[in-house]
Symmetry: none
Subunit: 215 residues, 4 copies
DNA sequence: AATGAATGAGTTTTCATTCAT
DNA sequence: TATGAATGAAAACTCATTCAT
């Protein structure tokens, strides 16, 4: 009856929120390293250190767990974008910051890419079935649109650039590098995953986009 | 009882090459739509209309079959690149042609992307273990290098562009668009897979890269 | 924080008897529709709208709950038989009433049959282990015996009819009809479960038995 | 290449028909003793002494295996009925033979009843979905109809007896006895499963029906 | 009395692979 | 070369039951 161990450091039993989070973290790792089809519910539970049944108790099934992971990583991106604060910046700095933070986010969360692979192969069926994931990116696209207009007005950007496609390009220039590092490294015969290679790539991407915007 | 028809009219009974090819085609579809882990040997055999055991007879195991598919799609790219004939062209046209054909190849073979996903997730272990796939892209990279130099010399390209990264960028601008169409469409709330959207994307990519090369 | 309402208006919180009854009702339905092995404790609790643990709290385990249901339905039959009051009636009317009420009881409680199936398959292990269920039918059998004797004495029934077997026959003629309606309907290609079909069956059963008793 | 062991007595491996039959026999026993929900595919395979996967290879799933068992037992009944040869017999003998063989069939195949229990509880969904089981009983019902007419014409049977219901009654009088022996024995406190009890029941059933048909 | 979390042993089904012919 | 039978290991998911509050 009396709330025992309210500030106890012993590993908490009967802590639903913590259990859920442990499962989610374990699932994220497992899905990232093995894919949706390759992931094993057993392994996820083992990684989380909880009973397998709790996967079903908390999430329903493997697919729903995968969706929960997707929602989590999308929310991470949204949070990162919210922190950008591009509004006050001059157009050039705003775009540059956008590119860099886009690159850095993937560098910091390389599993995002690999988590999305299965989703794209499957026609985005989880994302489309999710309330939570509606309109995740739109704010940023309209922001890019504004920045582009301002840049054009200021005479530093050329006209006619589609903001959606620019956004996709910015993402793609980083995304492909991170997603295909293993095969690209193998085929080019050089390690693209080193710290130096990554820095070079970052500069290249910023350079490429910034130069392409000049009038 | 079994009427032995020496002049059997039914096609390809006991035609090893055809059987192999049927299996390979079926495997390519199955791996593309389900991934390496999600693909089913049974389904591949069924798609191919041959006995399952022949997968093992011809290829050894599922992984080796996957590698054979990878070799096939890489060879397709190599063949397409061999047909490019960029050597004689002026630098600008050469780059433009490279971008377009890169885009068009992915448009024509969308399964390439999805086939590579698992390979990248797995650290490219099949590609690295394959003799056939060594140095597949190198010729083109050195060609890009030459084109860039010529362009710089002619005063139409800016200096300091890394040819490997440019090559990766050209690929990435198309790749990401094709690989993530489903999730991007879902999140932007507009269909990026339509013919019109694809044409717009193609123009955008050419534009972006060409503009970025200007001095 | 939790507003402790001493005069809570919501019905039956902390009402053991009601909770027990709800569980029993839910269990009866679940066992009837899914059998002992097919019934799910989760579903029973959900049907009852109470926590699953209460099944164990009130009944011990799934088997004990099943036995409680059996005791309930047997008690229903006993109650119905107690209300029959055949003693004062002339033999013919007494038998007729017995047949009809036997038929009507099954019509009104079709789950009785299906609840007994598993019990019979299991060798009646629950019934045999139950104090409550001892000698449930015996009074009626001896009554049938008496009625038969009187009928014979009055010259309206033939001799040599075993009362136990007559009792079983009366039950069986109704029981089989109700228990096998689905397969019989499927195989005869006509719906035996309609109201009209049921009335016809009732008449047939009464007719058959009454005619068979004639000297 | 050369057909080895064509007349070998060693336990045959690679004998699909035998394997199928072993599975079917094992399934019949398992379903009879545990019901559809209670039966374990593992146990069926173990009983049959074959690999569990073969259940799925030969039958598809547990339900389809259950249906195959149902088809088997129904076919047994049909075979028994085909052997009856009632056509030439005088009406009284024909009906008597029908009753006795109906009783004897259940006595010889007590699992039939218990196999049907789940099917009836489930609304006969397997039977209704089966081509094989269509119109299994109808020939006999029309035969009963003929016999009744002849009996009426000959002045030995009364009029107005519905042949479908008579058929159901004949079946039910035996069926209920066999299906409910355990609970009836428990409740009457006497063993109804003994050989003597069974003979008495058989006589009672024949007697009851034959008497009931008199004009 | 009542709740929801948690568990471990199963349960059906799947799957890559090998065997026998 | 080709086939279908057969296998063992595991896969997702379930379930009766117990624990902690």
């Amino acid at each position: 009856m009396p709330k025992k161990r309210s500030d106890d450091t012993r590993p908490q039993r009967r802590d639903p929120a913590a259990t859920r989070k442990k499962l989610l973290t374990a699932a994220r790792r497992e899905f990232a390293s093995s894919g949706l089809a390759g992931a094993r519910v057993d392994d996820i539970a083992a990684r989380a250190g909880v009973n397998k049944q709790l996967v079903y108790h908390y999430f329903g099934d493997k697919d729903a767990l995968y969706l929960a992971v997707l929602e989590w990583v999308y929310e991470e991106i949204r949070a990162q974008e919210r922190k950008l604060n591009l509004e006050g910046l001059p157009p050039e700095q705003a775009i540059k910051k956008l590119i860099e933070s886009s690159f850095d986010h993937l560098a910091a969360h390389p599993d995002f890419i690999v988590l999305l692979n299965d989703e794209n192969r499957g026609g985005a069926r989880h994302v489309r079935g999710s309330r939570t994931l509606e309109a995740v990116h739109s704010p940023l696209v309209s922001l890019v649109s504004t920045i582009l207009s301002e840049g054009v007005k200021a005479g530093i950007f050329r006209k006619g650039i589609n903001p959606v496609h620019l956004y996709i390009s910015i993402a793609g220039l980083s995304y492909f590098y991170f997603s295909n590092t293993p095969t690209l490294s193998a085929i080019f015969g050089k390690d693209l995953s080193s710290r130096a290679a990554r820095q070079a790539r970052r500069r290249h991407v910023v350079d490429l986009v910034m130069h392409s915007l000049r009038p």
